[in-house]
């Protein structure tokens, strides 16, 4: 198990890495169960109950809208928690071992919500608006199990689906490759429950110290 908790990052069994590498190479994505330790994810989810979100639309480099959601205000504590937790050099090392990506220097991301049975959507896209993005991650921070909201990744040219990840438990994460040859999406949420996720990218620049110091300075 690989896990981030209040006392840092733990990988309790190195032998898991080989299997993760194989799975990631085949599917270009991988689930890391319980990446965020349970009591910590519960604390974050509890904070999110009263956090402020705003309606947001996202556009590709060609100015096509590909997503609509509720995005959390950047000054909410949960954003700070996620950035502090994921800007961890040991986590960067593990991700490089799994994915063979270039050197990771930082994590940057956001928290968002997809309400069920609304116009919230996340269509096929490649996340290449920022060239420093290497590996994407999504961490489930939903208060309840939700329906729909499947992650899918495919080859851009052939449209062949390489991997699909369905609803996970709170604190579970999945990582996926960012590449000009790939696209990914999340299917709409339906049923009665809201889907909430921390999503972002492990990047080649800037340095994590810049990200952490900017959080500190924003206090």
């Amino acid at each position: 198990m690989a896990q981030i908790g209040k006392r840092g990052f733990i990988l309790n069994d190195d032998s898991l890495i080989a299997g993760w590498r194989e799975e990631f190479a085949a599917n270009q994505c991988l689930v890391l169960h319980n990446l965020i330790e349970k009591s910590l994810s519960e604390q974050i989810i509890e904070r999110l109950r009263t956090a402020e979100f705003y309606s947001n639309k996202h556009f590709s480099s060609e100015q096509q809208e590909f997503a609509s959601d509720l995005t959390i205000r950047e000054n909410e504590l949960a954003v700070h928690q996620i950035h502090l937790l994921l800007n961890n050099p040991k986590l960067f090392t593990l991700l490089r071992q799994i994915t063979d990506c270039p050197q990771i220097k930082c994590f940057s991301g956001r928290i968002y919500r997809n309400l069920p049975n609304t116009n919230h959507h996340l269509e096929w896209h490649d996340d290449l608006e920022v060239k420093e993005r290497l590996i994407g991650i999504s961490i489930n921070l939903s208060a309840e199990k939700y329906l729909g909201g499947f992650f899918q990744i495919r080859k851009k040219k052939s449209k062949e689906i390489l991997g699909q990840i369905e609803s996970q438990n709170a604190g579970d994460a999945h990582i996926f490759r960012i590449s000009p040859e790939l696209q990914h999406r999340v299917t709409p949420t339906n049923g009665l429950s809201t889907r909430t996720a921390a999503a972002g990218w492990f990047m080649s620049e800037p340095d994590a110290s810049e990200i952490i110091r900017s959080l500190y300075a924003a206090q």
Partner: protein, 94 residues
Amino acid sequence: MSNLYLPKAVKISENVLFQEIEGECVLLNMESEQYFGLDEVGARMWQILAQGGDPLKVLTQMQLEYETDEETLRKDLSNLLEELKNEDLIAVEN
């Protein structure tokens, strides 16, 4: 707390997140939503404290790692613990 007094044991608060960056340490009190920064020496003291909460062990280890006399280290550690306690980042057992 006097400058040379060290508590018997220290417990790191459940409401603290921390991250080491380039030898320094950033602590976030999730309750007060306040950050607290530690320089390289403070970060190393925090690391050893996080392993068992024994201030005397911190003192002993720091003496091995740093070329500083015990009195100076004891004073620095005592001051640090006082600050961390005031920020509700630790609880002390006297």
